[in-house]
Symmetry: C2
């Protein structure tokens, strides 16, 4: 497995995901104003990391990941809604994301709130349209994704983030915040893929460990990129964490310390895959790519 | 069946619903900031109309409505989230609801957005925790609720409402807006109750008709109350539709015309229940109460 193969795998899956997303949120549905706004953010250059991880996890346990596009695309809708709401003036107040104007800059604050609401709700109607899976398994998987996205997960992490801006927070709170904001959905994606494809208990556990380390490495890299990244590549201004007086892995551990922590997390993620053979190659490549990413 | 019995039925069910809601969104969960804000709005004096309707529909087809509290409470969470977001300055900009400060006035705009997000997400994790139902039926029911709450339903209705403020809209657009904003979730509530309790096709269809007429009567009454209601009873200022230059059933049909339309909808709702016996008594009382309500 090489980075070239990872690229090829991702390009193939992104095509499937984008085609499916365009069907689930059609351009000719009524009322046009909300569907247009939902599509604007859904097709704003996202890397489709969460659906790819679901698919890769299903592949890793010997299943056919591409059979689970409804659930995979639901994850992308949840991720996108969270970005739309995070960018609002009442939250992070960002005008650009991935080099494009944010939803509220194009459609106004009220419509951006509704756009996020529409995407979050569509995530569930889409996931629950998944066929060719035992309904009992689907209920379990979608419930787990909801819990990861909710008050004990993403939303809770955002709430702590918002409430702690400009305040000193301890290492433990920072850890919860990041696990909740990004880690929880990664974990749900990996576990969903494994469970949908019929992975056994041991496989699901191993992919859970992988996901936790992946999420940690992802967040640390994010914090590092906010300091050393290139605005052109990230598509938004850097240094916003410092300007907003946020506590990050870099402010807590210095740049060198944060890079070491990221490497440890990547090593741990790879170790958790030791029981898998070549089918987990994509997951191995993904986490190695993560630490070298520039955006 | 009398209004007294309706009252008794509702009080009994409200107690069940409130107890269940307090368990689903516990006061001691982490992080406290978001759970506290979610509970503030969940326990701000809601009439629990949607969960009661689900329970009453299940009872009407001969089932035990109280067995479906997870799905019923999910409806209340969806309703509450929509109020929290609607009250935001970027939307209707209301400071009070049911006589209490709105979420954003207490917690700030950002936290109110997250509170709505948390409630909407919790609706799905809660509904999917429903046991004692065939998972295939649960998937179908929850998916239908998601569609009713989403871009083709509630969210879409809000979007049209927001986009059309201060503009002339035609009767058809008004009809969509209201069916989508309130009718869709009523319909999903009634159908969910009937389907969860194993109602047959004919029963589900009849309750669907009932729900449509109920939703219509509800919306017209809402528009009437905004003109003739007492601020003390409604718990918010009246006349906001006129001030916001909104098109309503009253502005389109005059007060007398709107009252006539409401009565016709109530009559149609009652007619749709003609195939049901005494078990549908609560649904008959509910729609008759509706037209006489003062808040």
């Amino acid at each position: 497995m090489t980075e070239h193969l990872l690229n090829q795998y991702c390009q193939t899956k992104i095509k499937l995901i984008d085609t499916a997303l365009a069907q689930y949120i059609p351009g000719d549905a009524y009322p046009p104003i909300i569907y247009e706004a939902m599509r604007y953010s859904l097709f704003a250059g996202g890397k489709r990391l969460r659906p790819i991880m679901l698919i890769a996890a299903a592949d890793a346990v010997g299943g056919n990941g591409a059979a689970y596009l409804p659930v995979a695309c639901g994850l992308e809708m949840i991720h996108t809604y969270s970005l739309v709401h995070d960018d609002l003036p009442a939250m992070d107040n960002d005008d650009y994301r991935r080099g494009k104007l944010t939803s509220h800059k194009v459609y106004g604050d009220g419509m951006a709130i509704l756009t996020g609401d529409g995407l979050l709700t569509a995530a569930f109607s889409t996931m629950l349209s998944q066929t060719a899976v035992d309904p009992a398994v689907l209920v379990k998987v979608v419930r787990e994704i909801a819990l990861a996205a909710g008050a004990a997960g993403m939303v809770g992490g955002q709430a702590v983030d918002l409430a702690s801006e400009g305040q000193k927070i301890d290492d433990q709170t920072l850890k919860f915040m990041h696990q909740a904001k990004t880690g929880a959905l990664f974990k749900a994606a990996l576990r969903a893929g494994a469970m949908l494809a019929g992975g056994d208990r041991q496989q699901v556990d191993a992919l859970t460990d992988y996901a936790e380390q992946f999420g940690l490495a992802f967040q640390i890299t994010d914090d590092i990129l906010d300091v050393v990244g290139s605005p052109d590549k990230i598509g938004k201004p850097v240094g916003s964490d410092v300007r907003n007086d946020k506590v990050t892995y870099v402010t807590l551990h210095s740049l060198v310390g944060a890079k070491q922590l990221a490497q440890i997390a990547v090593d741990n993620a790879l170790a958790s895959l030791k029981g898998f053979s070549v089918e987990a190659g994509i997951l191995r490549e993904l986490v190695m790519y993560l630490i070298s990413r520039e955006a």
